[in-house]
Amino acid sequence: MNDERLRQRLREGDPATGENGLNPGEIHAMRRAVLAAAPEPRRRLLPALALAGAAAAILIALFALRPGPVQPPAPPRIAAVPAQPQVPAPPALQQASAPRTEPPAPGEKKKRPIQRRRHLRAAREETATLASREPAGNPPAEPGARQIQFSTPGGTRIIWTLTSGKASR
């Protein structure tokens, strides 16, 4: 039996021929049943809302019970500055500490490295401290004499007394 003959036989005996289809009563009943089976949106939304609420509560509880992040110890503020021997204050240092009358050149502040400024400030402070102390064994400075004191990294304290014409150490 070839395909054409088979097709002809199938069409001759098509189960749908001679059937009138659904009658109006069947159609009406089926339509009503189908439309009644459509889910109500409110009923559909309730479980979804409940689920969302439960999920939110769980998330809040998890956040509340989570241990806080451990704060690392604050690094020392000068940690980034490498320890360097203190620079002895040059004789011109006191002049540098004097207030400047000239306005700084533009960009000068940026050019000077911050590390250098710190060293200078430390040296100035130390000089001022030493100058304020009156060393016991040192002879009193003569009036009009100029004294410069500083200490070396090894701890040796050096005092220069500048008088007019000669210098004593």
Partner: protein, 168 residues
């Protein structure tokens, strides 16, 4: 908003039912052994659409309904078993067979179709009796076109064998 959505869903379902119920019933008549089962299959397909309206893609509702109908046929076929299904079909046809030639031919074809697996039966019915091209059948059933062609080839062989046996 809920009410409007409900109304939209209901309107969509009503529109689908009005547009496709006759066509689906005709297909169900060709796939199932009797009218009652065809009626049940169509109703069940629409009930599934009503319960899961979101699962029907927009613009492809007809294909979804046809696939659902064929899947329902497969479920019933599996539940009842091939042998009992064929025997029951043949018995029903004998009971209701009319002496007229057309009725005999219908009974013979229906019995032959009942021997095919549901998907193969759907493929041969859609292609040979509803005149759909293989590509359209593939789209409706959600399978590859080459699979449709393979089902057609196998179904023709099986039907030819059954119809020749019946003639003897």
């Amino acid at each position: 908003m809920d009410t409007s959505r409900q109304r939209t869903t209901t309107e969509r379902l009503a529109g689908l039912f009005d547009a496709h119920h006759q066509r689906l019933f005709r297909l169900a008549l060709r796939l199932s052994p009797d009218r009652e089962e065809a009626h049940d299959l169509v109703q069940e397909a629409f009930l599934r659409a009503a319960r899961q309206p979101a699962s029907m893609p927009d613009g492809a509702e007809e294909a979804w309904l046809v696939r659902t109908l064929v899947n329902l046929c497969r479920d019933r076929y599996r539940r009842l078993g091939v042998r009992s299904r064929v025997h029951e079909s043949l018995r029903r046809e004998e009971e209701t067979a009319h002496p007229e030639a057309a009725a005999v031919a219908r009974a013979t074809v229906r019995a032959a179709l009942a021997r095919l697996a549901p998907r193969r039966r759907a493929v041969i019915v859609l292609h040979e009796l509803e005149g759909m091209p293989a590509r359209e059948v593939a789209r409706l059933l959600g399978i590859a076109e080459v699979t449709v062609r393979w089902h057609l080839l196998t179904a023709r062989r099986e039907l030819a064998r059954v119809l020749l046996e019946d003639r003897r």
